[in-house]
Symmetry: C2
Subunit: 338 residues, 2 copies
């Protein structure tokens, strides 16, 4: 089969590798219908995370079940499925408390930019749709695999609820999904921080009521002003840098909450500052599995169209171009049809 291998920063190649096979009795093999490039793949692509040796890449997927191990009971060959980037048993205590991404048996599902994928703990990881979805819904369903689930978790971690005032830091696909999540969770006011026209437009489509183009201190000041000098109830930090975290913490009101889902890179927090801010903070890799049934339902009923974050669709053999376009910010997020 074809699989995407990153050899070094900037060096993405589509190569022929052996097809995956069932290893454990709880595995499933999926034929990928679509996959995509994540903002976090760019950490490798840009050399922020070291690429020690060539390795398969990609962790977002939708597909059709090809084969299952003998202990898999919840999905069967031929079904269309969506899963999270963590394979999880969905039965341990962390899973049961809604933190599947902290599952005691979790395995990162890597190498999804490929024709086939082996998914461990298929019963705990995959959620199937009752029918094969219409082709037009593939982008929306694929978005649930990570980016929409992550934006949703950011909003949940920031405690967005009906009437909330929300600031979203980061206008990448996750930040934009966070805007959509905030709208769905009933936020009354959603302030998106974005300097890019196309992203501002999508943020507005997704429910942003205000756009702040400034960054740093000016961005904070603008957010505070828009919230009547009080600060936001909820802030979604969807970047992962020190500057974004600072902006997030300073935009929240005392008693407000920051949900942070940008994987932190060298970010530290001075506790004394956090203390006197009275701001609550929770982050982490999103427990996407918790949200999948609800999000699939919202997609299938036409309530949300999270696939709009894909503004570039390429055939799979142009995966390298997908990375390049995102790296150069020509695309928000690239979808690959296999």
């Amino acid at each position: 089969m074809r699989a995407t291998i990153i050899h070094a920063p900037g060096d993405i190649r589509l190569e022929t590798v052996p097809d995956p096979t069932i290893v454990a009795s709880t595995d499933a093999i999926i034929r990928t219908v679509a996959t995509c490039v994540c903002g976090s793949d760019l950490w490798d692509y840009r050399g922020v995370n070291p690429v020690v040796s060539p390795h398969p890449i990609g962790h977002e997927y939708v597909g059709v079940v090809e084969e299952v191990g003998r202990d898999v009971s919840s999905v069967t060959p031929g079904e269309f499925v969506i899963g999270s980037f963590y394979a999880t048993d969905n039965t341990c205590q962390h899973c049961c408390s809604g933190y599947q991404s902290a599952c005691v048996r979790r395995e990162f599902v890597n190498g999804c930019q490929a024709d086939y994928i082996r998914i461990p703990f298929a019963d705990g990881t995959l959620v199937s749709t009752s029918d094969l979805p219409d082709d037009s819904l593939i982008p929306d369903l694929l978005a649930l695999s990570d980016v929409m689930g992550t934006g949703w978790y950011a909003a949940v971690a920031a405690d967005v609820r009906p009437g909330s005032t929300v600031v979203v830091v980061g206008d990448g696909a996750v930040g934009l999904s966070g805007v959509l999540a905030a709208r769905e969770l009933g936020a009354e006011r959603i302030i998106a921080m974005s300097r890019h026209d196309t992203r501002q437009q999508l943020a507005t489509d997704f429910g942003a009521t205000d756009i702040v183009t400034e960054r740093g201190g000016d961005g904070i000041a603008a957010a505070i002003e828009l919230t009547g000098g009080i600060g936001a109830d909820c802030v979604l930090e969807c970047v992962g840098t020190q500057e974004a975290m600072r902006q997030a913490l300073k935009s929240a009101r005392p008693g407000g909450n920051v949900g942070f889902v940008g994987v932190p890179h060298g970010v530290t927090i001075a506790c004394e500052e956090l203390f006197f801010s009275h701001v609550g903070l929770r982050g982490g890799p999103a427990p996407v599995r918790r949200f999948l049934p609800d999000l699939i339902d919202r997609v299938l009923t036409g309530r949300i169209e999270p696939g709009k974050v894909f503004d570039l669709e390429l055939p799979f053999d142009q995966v390298a171009e997908g990375y390049k376009a995102m790296d150069e910010r020509r695309a928000i997020k690239a979808l690959l049809r296999t």
Copy 2:
């Protein structure tokens, strides 16, 4: 009147100073009935916080209203009152959202180890009891002014609810009050970390179900083991050091919460670690005013006896001995009758 002045680390003196007077029309003057020494006063006493010049000290008080400004309407001379260490208007948006300690007009009420105190924003700060309380209840009511209100906030910030598993880091008066708060909020299991016999005893009296005597990595391991390898739902960090914060964060389960009320001294958090822990974090100076009516009711109905944290009661002129006893850990907390 007599007032406690700190001149330098270790140098506490009772001096004669002018009586306070009404400055603003929203002020009240209180005749102190009892005051006490706070763990945070020891930061000055021990020279951790610099003592730049001699200044009045103490921020916990109960007393009888002596005089009020012309715009004070909720308390009248002769009434017995309890207030928080922050004077707050209780009308601004931060106050209305329950974060009175972030009041836009807040003033730290310092110099309470004195015969009389001037309280700004008396209407927003003071809560009176309907009758003059029995002398035996003074320690319990005094505890509400800071230490019990702060322990309560730690438990609320850590989201303690019926059935929760709770770890309390710190066996000072605040930590012990946190144990009591956790019990009142319905915690099923309360693990107190303490190495001191008398404090362990009080923790048990207050509702601790388990005592962990180990610290650092061993303490974390013990807490994790006691929670079935999962970690606690809620952790109360009542110290303010890097080690205590580390212990708190590592004792919580993914999805759990740390409420931190020990004023942080040089504590930093690596966000990447916090991210992958999935632990929520909220701290701050306690919005004691939010909890006062409820806590006063619990005291007056005999439901809680938070005054048990005072294991040393001295006449006011021995205030220096109160500091010394706490500094040398001969006393958990010293009460001073004026």
